[in-house]
């Protein structure tokens, strides 16, 4: 957990190296100095609220935007100066569908393979292999619009993989999928990471971030925490108390007066303490405001984020985080 640490030489198996990258849109500074090194075969998650700079960083690495200052390389190629070389090494699943709905699934895959310079025979072979591997044979010769939501996401995955990239980018790739389809999707991606594919992804779903080897938390254009899910939660220290009272503002003021740092999240007060079990009876007894509900649990990634930023991951358009109020330890 050392955000923006002093630059160290990139390890030999580094696939993505980001050094001091900033991005400005006119007056707005979307990225304020990002440093990252991602190794081959790593599953790397980028988490942050809307507007934190996730999309900017993602688009810069994916060759869709330029950076303002700093340097970023992918497989040794500069992402702004050697875009064609970078593009040959990446595959991307976007939030939105990126297949031609009226063409068949197979035609879509072959079309993309051709865009990567593959010959017709090789394109056909690759499409066939991927359709089989991702369990899409049954849908292969239907127009893409006549497939199910879960199938469509797998088609997107197949499209992104058809040129055998070394790095797979996933941008909120499972948005709108049900739990089972999401689980299948990530099992597939995890398996491919096991085979050496580097995966860089963004997500709003906390339990999805848990599959990552490392997570970068980004807020206001900076990486505020970086580590494995376990490291992030361990670095957090102690446990979490959630309080619901008749007057959260008054309660927060009272807590602040006694040296507790309370963050407000979705009409609840969130409190971090090294020993929550010991301090909880005291709080309930002494708070001058009636307490309606109390919960105590081990920290989740969401808590880590909330503690670090004083605000939740879920922006206005973010889906609710499942399992958030059940108090279960991860």
């Amino acid at each position: 957990m050392s955000p923006n640490a002093a630059p160290v030489p990139a390890p030999a198996d580094a696939v993505i190296v980001v050094e001091g990258v900033t991005k400005r849109y006119g007056e707005v500074e979307a990225l304020r100095g990002i440093d990252l090194t991602i190794r081959a075969g790593e599953m790397f998650a980028l988490l942050g609220p809307n507007g934190a700079g996730k999309t900017s960083l993602f688009s810069i690495l994916a060759t869709l935007r330029t950076l303002t200052a700093g340097r970023a390389t992918l497989c040794g190629h500069d992402v702004t100066r050697e875009r064609a070389a970078v593009r040959r090494n990446i595959g991307i699943v976007f939030q939105e569908p990126a297949i031609e709905r009226r063409l068949t699934v197979r035609d879509n895959l072959e079309l993309m393979a051709r865009c990567y310079g593959l010959g017709a025979a090789e394109a056909r072979r690759r499409a066939g292999t991927l359709l089989e591997k991702l369990g899409l044979q049954e849908a292969a010769d239907r127009p893409a619009e006549q497939t199910s939501g879960g199938q469509r996401r797998r088609i997107e995955l197949a499209r992104a993989l058809v040129a055998r990239p070394r790095v797979l980018f996933l941008d909120e790739a499972t948005l709108g999928l049900d739990v089972e389809a999401r689980r299948n999707f990530w099992a597939e991606v995890r398996r491919m990471a096991g085979e050496g594919l580097t995966v860089f992804f963004t997500t709003h779903y906390m339990e999805e971030a848990e599959v990552a080897d490392r997570i970068a938390l980004i807020a206001e254009g900076r990486i505020i925490a970086l580590g494995s899910p376990r490291e992030l939660k361990a670095g957090f220290g102690g446990g979490v108390i959630r309080l619901s009272t008749d007057d959260d503002t008054a309660a927060a003021a009272w807590l602040a007066g006694r040296g507790f740092k309370a963050a407000t999240a979705e009409k609840q007060l969130l409190l971090v303490h090294a020993d929550p079990a010991a301090v909880l009876p005291l709080l309930v007894r002494e708070l001058p405001v009636p307490v309606r509900r109390v919960e105590m649990h081990a920290p989740s990634l969401e808590d880590v984020f909330l503690e670090l930023t004083g605000r939740g991951l879920g922006g206005d358009s973010a889906p609710a985080v499942p399992g958030r109020f059940n108090g279960a330890a991860p």
């Binding site: 707005v28 507007g51 688009s59 869709l64 593009r87 976007f94 569908p97 009226r102 865009c115 206001e220």
Partner: protein
């Protein structure tokens, strides 16, 4: 080159799936030719049959103009979903994306114009091998220039709602000023001057010269004008595609809303 060809094949597949559009798009030129042509022709000094013959090249230009520019609308649809982005992150040279789209639009327009060209003898335009070759050349140059107009516009917008506006504010004025429906030589001076800045005028002129042997501009100048328009707009579209998602701030980056 192969990537450009791949994109052309894709668009032709979609075009073929839209056969109804292909047939319905022939209605407008037929109306011009047989209703406007017959009605207006009956009262003109040229007479009905002669007027239809006179505007036939203009009606070919009409088909080429609207078919090729509207073919570019698929770029907007592709941008609305992520399909355009998927192409943009592929190692396809940006010129191949622009050229592929321009080629596809031109090809679609040429198919439709060829269907109309079959009617030439019906309106009294008789084709020799030489004039056929000349008219095909003129059609290719015109289709490329018009398609380049469509792509240069479509590459810059993310909503298809802009197309009726372009149609009324740009295409129709260009068409009416082109001399497609009247001889430019007899038009008022300001219209003659304006025609020099109108790519459609050069296209109509080349088509008319090929089919009827009459013209207003010098052939090499008309050819050069169409090639220049195509090249400039190709270049401008390449620049837009090369920019990717980076905008000049007009469509406001999403980041700006939440940052302090």
């Amino acid at each position: 080159m192969s990537a450009a060809w791949t994109l052309i094949v894709l668009d032709m597949k979609r075009f073929w799936q839209d056969r109804i559009r292909l047939v319905s798009s022939l209605i407008q030129p037929l109306l011009y030719l047989f209703v406007l042509g017959s009605g207006l022709g009956a009262s003109s000094r040229l007479g009905g049959a002669d007027y239809r013959r006179y505007i036939f090249p203009g009606v070919l230009a009409l088909t080429l103009l609207f078919s090729s520019t509207f073919a570019a609308i698929t770029i907007v649809f592709d941008r609305q979903i992520g399909f355009l982005k998927a192409v943009l992150v592929a190692p396809v040279p940006r010129w191949a994306i622009a050229a592929g789209r321009i080629g596809a639009g031109a090809l679609q327009a040429l198919v439709q114009a060829a269907l109309l060209l079959v009617l030439a003898p019906v309106v009294g335009v008789h084709l020799s091998p030489g004039s056929l070759l000349a008219v095909i050349g003129a059609m290719v140059l015109s289709a490329a220039a018009f398609s380049a107009i469509g792509v240069a516009v479509a590459a810059r917008f993310s909503s298809p709602a802009v197309f009726p506006v372009i149609s009324n504010a740009l295409l129709l004025p260009m068409y009416f000023l082109s001399g497609a429906l009247y001889p430019l030589g007899m038009a008022p001076q300001w219209m003659k001057v304006a025609a020099h800045f109108d790519p459609v005028a050069y296209a109509v002129d080349l088509l008319r010269r090929a089919l009827l042997g009459q013209g207003f501009f010098v052939v090499p100048i008309a050819v050069a004008a169409l090639v220049l328009v195509t090249a400039l707009l190709l270049w401008s579209s390449v620049r837009v595609f090369a920019r990717g998602e980076d905008t000049d701030g007009r469509r406001g980056p999403r980041a700006s809303r939440l940052l302090p």
